[in-house]
Symmetry: C2
Subunit: 478 residues, 2 copies
């Protein structure tokens, strides 16, 4: 494998290929085939995220993949933002359709037409619905598998409320959910930023987006949640009768955790120069048993390896003994590359004495474990492993936080792969020119202000020199 | 509710609307919105089916929704069969695409290009992969929600083998899987027929499809599995090196359980004039607790209802106490209509004595259950309920099996809503004219010969009068 730190881009290309995560040879540009080793983990990520959505009162529904052009055009900023990316269907069989249909690039304009029918009174609110789905966007930026492609796998959640306060509380719930899932369970650290007004979701009042740092120091946007206000409600007539019998527009939010992209962040943050390092709960295979043949003891070793495999499987652990013809060394490397959390080595000594050698993927530390304590050890050690992976990831993330008050200092910190706090005059539209100047001079993008803590700028705007009203974070982006 | 037996079509329309299963008001013809009450059950159906696919050695993968037209055209029967139904993408943003892309109506032509790359030697075989997905078909037949629409939810499984024997064994495994899942767990009876040659999957050697009977006596096709032979392998160059070092084409099969349609059959077979009757494992809500207020005991009743709800939920049961302002009678009807398997009534007596009244949805039988035995009772009774539902469904199915040796008898049996065994000269292409004559005279479709038992025709062909080689089944179809 390539060195992850010094050559992340090649490491990423190599691991996605070697570990069998995807195949780029599909004959439509920007579309990839997701292969079993990644899909098994992504299916588990979906399950975990959906469980959290249901725990917070969301119900699942399935909306159509095709959206009539006239729906699509109802919210003016939205149509402007997404139209350049839409795949259009104009013909079916030999028939020209009466109206062009958009393959959904996101589903607001499909869903809110229905919300307008479903919501009548206050009793219909709040309405909290999620849809696990794929969306299609004709990206003009360079595509990378899992990170950005023309078809991606995500969950959309769309909520409607009677008041702005409830909608704002939902935005906070969405962010907390990301913390509970993406950091606590997948071990990927991030910060939620309120995006500048020029970089918000088309049609929203404000956008809050999680940025993680990839090993090359570039930020990757993870879930974003949007306070839509009443813009779409007005465009689609999503309204309810209030206590006075008057019609009021709903306050809406939407939230889009992109599972394929979270997967990209997860493998990039945790991987090392030997390959993938997968959290135990997401690994397609959690434990691999490797027999180490020794002349004269072949039968005993094979028997013990099978016995251990059977005990693990019957305890509900995804386990497998590798009896292939390869050497033990080849097997070690192969399963390390695939990110299997635990390897159990069964040699002559282990077959004889009932002590097993267990190796943890992340630390590569070897543990002598009594066979009767194996299940307990795996369970306990899996939790420790996740805690260690989180700690390491968080410490790397924090090690890349920097500050700058001049363009030169900013450029130099960005060059080192940092996420840099800088004073800016504003994240309202009047700050846009300054952000463009930053981009021109340093290739850094203004990601917005932190949502998790109030920070004040102590200096003048790094670009125009006027009083800085906000402390923003700048990074190079994917 | 309408009477299900005498007026099935209206019953079906009413239940899909009243129980909140789908919304037909989406603005694209033939596309429906699937609402939470059906989606929760369909997600469970997916889980159960996928577990069975994995148990039989299939791995999940995700293939693109768009297929290049040139891929699509590689297998001549396939392109002829599906082209009239394809939604075409020709434009993205403002760009005209270099090649038209088909929204997948089924994925053989997307997947087999990859199989040609993935399969090199015998060690790559068998290859067993499934993809849970949606497909899109521009249906010209009348659409009905869940039964036939232009977007449907299914699973595709695509397998490749080194020999015809293994492919044939896979076809049998697919049929057994349908039995294990659709009959054993969802309670829907069916028979697998080998379809006549004129009605097979475009590009296959032979098609085996499950037919169930809807309450109006029409058959609905459930999963079908196809012996593709080497047709697609030749078109897409899916081949392996055999022991002699020669390239041999693979033998392929594909299998497509359509979850949304299986759901349609499930609710139709089990439902009654009070509404849905859902198997316990699929019900979004498994137990509803209905308090029956009585002056002076309100607090005690509410407390008991909450206590029962909490005990059920903490045992992992999907349960809810209905404290809404409606009358108990309204609540009984509402939750019966929604198909909740168990209702627990909590009145003054129950609150005082600790005995609960539990009512089963299918039989409406009332049971007095000691509170401490409630969890055990629910568990035991849920299994009995499924067994009873299966028994009832099977007996109705078998009661509709008939035989005929003349067109008049056939027409009369079809009029009564039967699946009718009749002698036919052949299900090879030479029998097609006779099948068309049957269709013209009786509106019945020849569904093929039974796969589960060998049957012999004892009479002459019902149409041409020549010696009948096969006993086929005829029914009116959806």
């Amino acid at each position: 494998m390539k060195n992850k730190k010094s050559n992340f881009s090649e490491w990423y290309s190599e691991i996605t290929k070697e570990a069998g995560l995807c195949d780029l040879r599909y004959r439509v540009k920007g579309f990839v085939v997701f292969m079993p080793w990644s899909v098994i983990s992504m299916k588990k990520m979906y399950e975990i995220y959906e469980r959290e959505l249901e725990r917070t009162g969301h119900l699942p529904a399935w909306f159509p993949a095709l959206i009539p052009e006239s729906n699509f055009q109802k919210e003016s900023q939205h149509v402007e933002g997404f139209t350049p990316q839409v795949f259009w269907v104009e013909r079916a069989g030999d028939n020209v359709l009466e109206e062009r249909l958009a393959m959904r690039p996101t589903s607001e304009t499909a869903i809110y037409q229905m919300y307008s029918l479903w919501i009548q009174g206050k009793g219909d609110l709040p309405l909290k619905v999620y849809h696990p789905s794929q969306v299609w966007r004709y990206e003009t930026k360079a595509t990378r598998p899992f990170i950005r492609s023309r078809e991606f796998y995500w969950i959309e959640s769309h909520n409607a409320f009677a008041s702005r306060e409830e909608a704002e509380a939902q935005v906070r719930e969405d962010m907390q959910m990301a913390q509970n899932v993406i950091f606590e369970q997948f071990g990927v650290p991030f910060i939620f930023f309120e995006r500048p007004q020029w970089d918000k979701f088309p049609g929203a009042l404000s956008t809050f987006a999680a940025d993680t740092l990839m090993p090359d120091g570039r930020v990757l946007q993870l879930p974003s949640t949007h306070l839509l206000g009443q813009n779409f409600a007005k465009a689609f007539d999503v309204a309810f009768l209030n206590e006075k019998g008057e019609r009021e527009y709903c306050w809406q939010t939407c939230y889009g955790p992109c599972i394929s992209r979270i997967y990209a962040a997860m493998i990039s943050v945790h991987g090392d120069d030997a390959g993938l390092v997968l959290p135990y709960s997401l690994a397609p295979l959690q434990v691999v048993v490797v027999p180490i043949p020794k002349k004269g003891s072949e039968r005993a070793i094979e028997k013990k390896a099978k016995q251990v495999e059977a005990a693990l499987i019957s305890a509900g652990i995804r386990a497998k003994a590798d009896f292939s013809q390869n050497t033990p060394g080849f097997k070690y490397n192969y399963w390390e590359m695939k990110g299997v959390p635990f390897r159990i080595e069964v040699g002559e000594k282990e077959a004889r004495e009932g002590d097993l050698t267990v190796v943890r993927r992340d630390s590569k530390k070897r543990h002598a474990v009594k066979e009767r304590e194996l299940l307990h050890f795996i369970q306990k050690e899996a939790a420790l492993m996740l805690a260690d992976m989180k700690k390491k990831a968080l410490s790397e993330f924090e090690g890349r936080m920097a500050k700058a008050t001049s363009m030169e200092a900013l450029a130099s910190a960005l060059e080192k792969g940092c996420l840099v706090a800088v004073p800016l005059c504003s994240i309202e539209m009047e700050g846009r020119n300054c952000a463009e100047e930053i981009k021109d001079k340093t290739a850094g993008d203004v990601r917005g202000i932190r949502f998790d803590k109030k920070e004040h700028a102590q200096a003048n705007c790094i670009a125009c020199g006027k009083k800085a009203n906000v402390l923003v974070y700048v990074a190079r982006q994917y």
